[in-house]
Amino acid sequence: MKKILSNPFVLTVIAIILGFVVASIILLLAGYPPVESIRTLVESMLGRPKDISSVIIRSTPIIFTGLGVAFAIKTGLFNIGAEGQYVMGCVVATMVGSMLDFPKPVAVIMVLASAMLVSALYAGFVGFLKAKLGIHEVITSIMLNWIALYFSNWVCGLDFFHKHGTIGMYPVNPCTYTMVLPAWKRSEEGQAFLAENPILKETLGRTDVNIGFLAAVIAAILITYLLNSTRKGFELRAVGQNIHAARFAGINVNRSIVHAMMISGALCGLGAGFYITGQSPHTVATLSAFENVGFNGLSVAFIAFSSPIGCIFAGLLFGGLLYGGAGLQSKIGAPTEIINIVIGVIVFFCALSYLIPRFAERMEAARISKQRRKKMQDQPDVHP
């Protein structure tokens, strides 16, 4: 019992179930039928092939930022700057992508690489400040989040990038697209093929199916390998868990912090790159507030207990709830705030789930105590 309850996967599932229970109560209190609402939510997430496809697409950037945050947590850093790094990645990807005209693989790689690089440097700066000057990464990265947002807005307004008649930049050129067969599916031949395959028509034909999700899965596997099986990963984890012992053992702690932040930032940047190249509108618009892709990554990393592989599932859940929330709104009329509360409640229970094993332990102790007392009653002469 205790062993099962210590398993992070089980804990997460319990947290999610508890989250839905509390969410039902909230829905009930808000005057919406809870069972009906939850069913509608799940249906809008998984009801049709198109929905599933959309959920995956919607989840991809969140999985990437989740991976970035989870990686940072594994190395002892709290990368609340994922949002800013993601925004920087988006701007740079759009800037580079709208100027490039190269053969496909080269263009794609250049866009993704530039987004990764800039985001990595942006995060690396936070790591540098922490390593050299001892400034906590949370403080610097919150500042840098805002700087990234305003930088993004500023670039949007530059004549060179601004697309007239819109509030955003010129979108990236089609040569940088990472969707699956974007040209073919619009061609006559493609249309004809899709018409014969209703499922493919709904998914590939109607949504921006792209390679981002696949890349996220590969990234999660690579990161797991890096952390657990390599010299570098050993160092990063050692620094993350006990910086003093790591320093004592001769690990270059400062370098580790900078590298960890850079890798974390690069993951956020890669997510941004895939978002810009893989989903319409393929551009960045002037923003009045954060889009929360990075902040949602924080929640994803928490739900996943910072396991990279877990981030894939947590990201899908998160993307699903965000996407399904829209369905809940249109079908039941519940406001999106409710769906945000549901998400909040789930994250809250995940954060509390470390209490579950303790609770189980207490139950176990009570059980043993009871048994013992019973035994003593059976043989009352044990005690002198």
Binding site: T230, R231, N242, A245
Partner: protein, 622 residues
């Protein structure tokens, strides 16, 4: 076995059982503490003695069993209830507010008020002074905690308990952080408290202390009650055997050292502390291959900063030369790569990554070698087999701990992992800082054996410890650190605790305990240096010393074999006799000896008086 419940006992705990999950920390333990006595609870680390006291103090609730205070059954739910029953506890780690004054700390939480609102610190101060006077616990009420010594802080803790009306005092490892003199003072304070009718319970695993302080001793082993004895009826060896469960060798067995060339040479070292003040100043020390040099000293005299500088955790001025290579102001890795291994003082902070498995901790330094991570990929097979060997060689328990978190091991086993790991580095210099802190007798014996074994393999061992007995037992030379520099160096077996204690407090012992390692340096420069020392000492008017040092300078330069031995004989004619503080006979020296004797006489009289009083008490009771 449990005594009958009676009001002659201050504390009676009967059939106490305490579980943590399915682990039994205490099983059916009995404790009967007579009023007005000092009662020791002896046990290895993890035996459950602190748990038992925490049950008494209300920090834990016993799963089974009863507690009686003065013959009345009580239910102690929390420390507040314990205080209400007149129980006070002084924890091993003091719970004081660093930047509050002594008075503020003592009254904290039960401050006297005027008209029920405003603090009345004047009254508080007076209250404190009253208690101070009553028990002879001298403290300076207006000093800040951070400015007073550890011994003084402990008194503040005791005062805190007394201020709250404690009749029963629990002291958790009270002497762990004290110097020899402070221990004596503490013992005197305890005797005073007993005279006033208080009852004291001491948690300890130090056998010597029990003999010195306690009337009765209860032994606990692995959560089980073993026995209770009047202390005068048992010997240290008996106690040790009962505590561990098998006979223990209390004295470190070792052959005389065979020191060879200097491997670690620290010259004119200056290191700043956190406040930017030089905590290590003009520090000079040589450690030779095949010897153990122990640094004795009171905590806070630069030991920590010295370690930081040697391990390159901090910048310093001066030179640290390891086997001919200057290693100062580089990186920690540089030192490690040049043959430095360190057993850190704080194994949880500096020694282990507690969340890592034992496997990973075992290769915390080796992981970067191509042996363990060819091509940047950790060789798990190699990691496992290496760790399994280490676990076997150092008897780490449980044997199957390899894949488990290091944080789950007991302190002694964690230390074994660290020691095994550091020794596996095949270092030229091994620095051990407080290597037995918090370990029990059996584990201490083990650690000391390992240090001696390394010495015999030709490693230069530097032992830094606040435990005087440890330094005296293990070291071949004892270097006393005071105020950031080496105050004096003594060869093994030439000084006693008391003398060392005086040097640790900043005194100097007359007589020539010259450092043998400084003399037989084969270079002309060293000879000149020796002559210089001689000249200096001569200038200071120490004619006797000058003669011997001069003789040393005249020694043939090339004493090839065992350079330490003949040199010392030549240099210190008196070293063969058991030297106390009678060195060259000078008037101030003799005066000091006389003063010492008077002091011990006074102590003996005091003890005699105590015993008489005790006798009268007993007769009165009968």
């Amino acid at each position: 076995m449990a005594a009958e419940v009676s009001s002659k006992y201050a504390v009676q705990m009967h059939g106490i059982t305490k579980r943590f999950g399915s682990f039994y920390a205490l099983t059916d333990v009995d404790l009967d503490v007579e009023k007005g006595t000092i009662h020791s609870i002896l046990g290895e680390n993890g035996a459950g003695k602190s748990t038992l006291m925490n049950v008494l103090y209300g920090m834990y609730q016993a799963d089974e069993g009863e507690i009686f205070i003065n013959g009345k059954k009580v239910d102690i739910k929390n420390p507040t209830a314990a205080i209400a029953h007149g129980i006070g506890m002084v924890h091993q780690h003091f719970m004081l507010v660093e930047n509050f004054t002594v008075t503020q700390n003592i009254v904290l939480g039960s401050e006297p008020t005027s008209a029920g609102i405003g603090l009345n610190m004047k009254k508080a101060r007076q209250n404190v002074l009253d208690i101070v006077k009553k028990y002879g616990l001298e403290v300076e009420p207006d000093k800040l905690i951070r400015d007073i010594s550890v011994g003084m802080q402990q008194r503040v803790e005791i005062l805190k308990a007394l201020y709250r009306g404690a009749e029963i005092l629990i002291l958790d490892e009270p002497t762990a952080v004290l110097t020899e003199q402070e221990i004596d003072e503490l013992l005197a304070i305890m005797k005073n408290l007993i005279k006033d009718g208080k009852t004291i319970i001491i948690i300890t695993h130090k056998l010597k202390e029990i003999q010195a302080s306690s009337d009765v001793c209860t032994i606990i082993r692995r959560g089980q009650y073993i026995d209770t004895y009047p202390v005068k009826d048992v010997t240290e060896d008996d106690l040790a055997a009962m505590m561990v469960g098998h006979p223990v060798n209390l004295v470190v067995e070792k052959t005389p050292a065979k020191p060879q060339e200097v491997v670690l040479d620290i010259r004119n070292l200056y290191v700043k502390n956190e406040q930017g003040i030089d905590a290590v100043k003009d520090f000079n020390l040589q450690v030779r291959a095949g010897e153990i040099v122990g640094i004795a000293g009171i905590d806070g005299n630069g030991q920590h900063e010295l370690m930081e500088a040697v391990n390159n955790l901090k910048k310093c001025r001066g030179k640290i030369i390891l086997d001919g290579q200057e290693i100062q102001n580089k990186t920690p890795k540089y030192g490690i790569d040049h043959g430095l291994a360190t057993i850190p003082a704080d194994r949880h902070k500096d020694g282990l990554v507690l969340g890592f498995s034992v496997y990973e901790n075992a290769i915390l330094e080796k992981y970067r070698s191509d042996d363990f991570s060819p091509g940047g990929k950790i060789d798990r097979k190699k990691m496992r087999s290496f760790t399994e060997d280490l676990i076997r060689a150092y008897d780490v328990r449980p044997e199957d701990c390899g894949p488990k978190q290091a944080g789950g091991l007991s302190g002694g086993n964690q230390q074994k992992v660290i020691i095994g790991r550091e020794i596996a580095q095949e270092p030229k210099v091994l620095i051990a800082i407080q290597p037995t802190r918090g370990l029990d007798v059996g584990a201490i014996e083990n650690v000391h054996k390992m240090l001696v074994r390394e010495r015999d393999k030709g490693v230069a061992v530097l032992l830094i410890s606040f435990e005087l007995d440890e330094v005296m037992n293990v070291s071949d030379r004892i270097a006393v650190i005071y105020d950031g520099h080496i105050q004096q160096i003594f060869p093994h077996g030439t000084v006693d605790n008391r003398t060392l204690g005086r040097v640790m407090a900043g005194g100097k012992v007359e007589g020539d305990f010259a450092d043998p390692s400084e003399v037989p340096e084969k270079t002309a420069a060293a000879e000149a240096a020796a002559a210089e020392t001689a000249a200096e000492e001569a200038a200071a008017g120490e004619t006797a010393a000058a003669e011997t040092a001069g003789a040393a300078a005249e020694l043939p330069a090339g004493t090839e074999e065992a350079p330490g031995e003949p040199a010392r004989e030549g240099l210190v004619p008196a070293a063969e006799e058991p030297l106390r503080e009678t060195g060259p006979e000078s008037v101030p020296d003799m005066l000091r000896t006389l003063a010492d004797m008077q002091q011990s006489l006074a102590q003996m009289q005091q003890q005699l008086a105590d015993m008489q009083k005790h006798l009268v008490d007993m007769q009165g009771r009968q």
